[in-house]
Amino acid sequence: MPLSTEERKELYGRAKGLRKDIVTVTSESGGAHIGGGLSALDILVLLYFKYLNIDPENPSWEERDRFVLSKGHAAIAYVPVLARRGYFSFDELKTFNKFGSPFGMHPDSRRIRGCDASTGSLGHGLPMAVGMALGARVLGKSFRTFCLLGDGECNEGVVWEALMAAAHYKLTRLVPIIDRNGLMIDGPTETVMSLEPLEEKLAAFGFDVLSVDGHDLDAVGGAIEHAIAAGDPSAAGETVGSGGKPVCIVANTTKGKGIDFMEGEVPWHYGSIDAELRIKALESIDRMYEAIGGLA
């Protein structure tokens, strides 16, 4: 089902508010992986405010869909999303990065309500997501597992071990989404370590690959719906999630999306924001949504 006009307005509004939340938390916490948080945000908004079958009142509900933030450094986007989805109060994020806080640069599943896996070391999330999806099959449960990876993260060999296993076991209820923002700490992915042709590599590993604009909520939503349909028993064969090809989504994004002085800028992988920059950042976000026009 494509986004309705109301949904679109609501989701873009959420994304706009969360971009501002990210600026707030980054400025108050002393620093964060804001570039990759902003590239991942729209995907997180769609998952948490539309597609994931979850209940923030009951975060350990066994039938819930699982989400693994394999690019754990995007906690700066993920944790505010969890707060706004109702897992805990946004005010708690005042402790972000501070001594004794449950919220550090990388999410801790044992201390953060609603967080399904502790991540941060790259290449660890997708294998765990594969385990969750295989586990669902063993347990006869129908929940889905979504996993968000970074593109630079795909340099890690274990990512490909996990992709191989996901295709081998035909895990159609596992949906890997790659945040293809094109940058890593030391520069452009194609300069540091070439990933291209990424989509062809993923296809060769046994995936049905969808490449979309990762900031166009309709496009990302459409891809997620395609992936969801591929995991339905009717599409997949007799057993839930054991049918054909799993879907992998490549979301083409911009690092720092929404804040003009950060967009595509390598140094904004991690940074801090002072009072002056904070105002500029918030103004830039307003301009971005004005440009989209009428959506938020």
């Binding site: 070391s121 385990g131 969750m132 586990g135 996990a162 191989m164 081998h168 076991y169």
Partner: protein
């Protein structure tokens, strides 16, 4: 889960089944009664003998191919959704190739993944250093939340695997290749995780051993009694972490001399764990460690390697004799002012 699993170890033939085979059987048996048990390996189903589980529960067995990092990550994910995964591969790969997955995915999240590491020490003798593993105890005991067990033989492996089910967190069980001679002839000798088993009593010196060292240490104790008239205590310290401090403190007080025996580098394993307790006790104790002296091991039959590194009965007996000659120094210069 420690009991009521239907078939018990006594049904198996100790003389003909190896630790690996017994492990696969016990696992199959546990999963008959507990649907949470799943088995995983990385192209070593036959080598690690988890194939016994695979045959009986093909729907709950997953081969990850030659991809140990993914193996441990997948096991963590399965545990996250409520399963109890038993992941088997060679010790070298479980503890080193996949060390970060074990630490970050499994131990940090305190998940009930049970790692069965086979071919530990130099048990895969002719394969050489790439397939030997004399580092895993040091690595695994440094991971918070991890329980580390080194069974003395197949019977103790059966006990350890059952006990692992009752431990809510991760467990590392270190076994050999399967050609090790049996030590126990019955399973109800009182195995308890974290409690050393006194397998030979004595008052002159205590040998604290694990794994294949237990049988060899007991043979050494008998030899020393016959040949030297010595009274040597032998503790089977099957649990390296948490270590049995009480048993070590008793050994310090009652025998004043301790030799540790392990199929591991003398840095970081059983010997180091025991040394910590001795140092913290503040008591004088003559102490030595038998193991691999910070070297990469030679190639050869395991028995030849054990003899070469002094880990067989004769080697252990020699170490005991040497340690008994160590004098406790009087220090005239030092006064305890406390």
């Amino acid at each position: 889960m420690s009991d009521g699993t239907g078939t018990t170890w006594t049904c198996y033939d100790a003389a003909t089944m190896t630790a690996r085979e017994i492990y696969g059987r016990v696992l199959a048996e546990l999963s008959d009664t507990d649907p949470r048990v799943v088995g995983l390996t990385a192209d070593l189903s036959k080598s690690t003998a988890i194939v016994n589980f695979e045959r009986e529960h093909p729907d709950r067995f997953f081969n990850m191919g030659i991809a140990e990092q993914n193996l441990m990550g997948v096991a963590a994910g399965m545990a996250k959704v409520g399963l109890i995964p038993f992941a088997s591969t060679f010790a070298a790969f479980a503890s080193m190739r996949a060390a970060e997955q074990v630490r970050t995915d499994i131990c940090y999240q305190n998940l009930p993944v049970k790692i069965i590491a086979t071919h530990s020490g130099v048990s895969f003798g002719a394969a050489g250093t790439t397939h030997h593993c004399t580092e895993d105890l040091a690595i695994m005991r440094s991971f918070a939340n991890m329980t580390v067990i080194v069974p003395a033989d197949g019977t103790e492996t059966a006990n350890a695997v059952r006990a692992a089910m009752d431990i809510p967190g991760p467990v590392y069980i270190r076994i050999g290749r399967g050609f090790e001679p049996p030590f126990y002839d019955r399973e109800d000798y009182g195995f308890a995780v974290g409690k050393a088993h006194k397998v030979h009593d004595g008052t002159d010196l205590t040998v604290i051993a694990c794994g294949i060292g237990v049988l060899q240490a007991v043979e050494a104790a008998r030899l020393l009694k016959e040949q030297d008239g010595l009274s040597v205590r032998v503790l089977n310290m099957h649990t390296i972490k948490p270590i049995d401090r009480e048993a070590i403190l008793s050994a310090i007080t009652e025998t004043r001399r301790i030799l540790t025996v392990e199929e591991h580098n003398t840095l970081g394993g059983l010997g180091s764990a025991v040394a910590d307790v001795i140092a913290e006790s503040g008591k004088g104790c003559a102490f030595a460690k038998a193991g691999f002296p910070d070297v990469y091991s030679e190639v050869g039959y395991p028995e030849d390697l054990y003899a070469h590194y002094g880990l067989d009965a004769n080697g252990i007996a020699d170490r005991v004799r040497k340690l008994l000659k160590v004098e406790f120094e009087e220090d005239e210069e030092w006064e305890d002012e406390v």
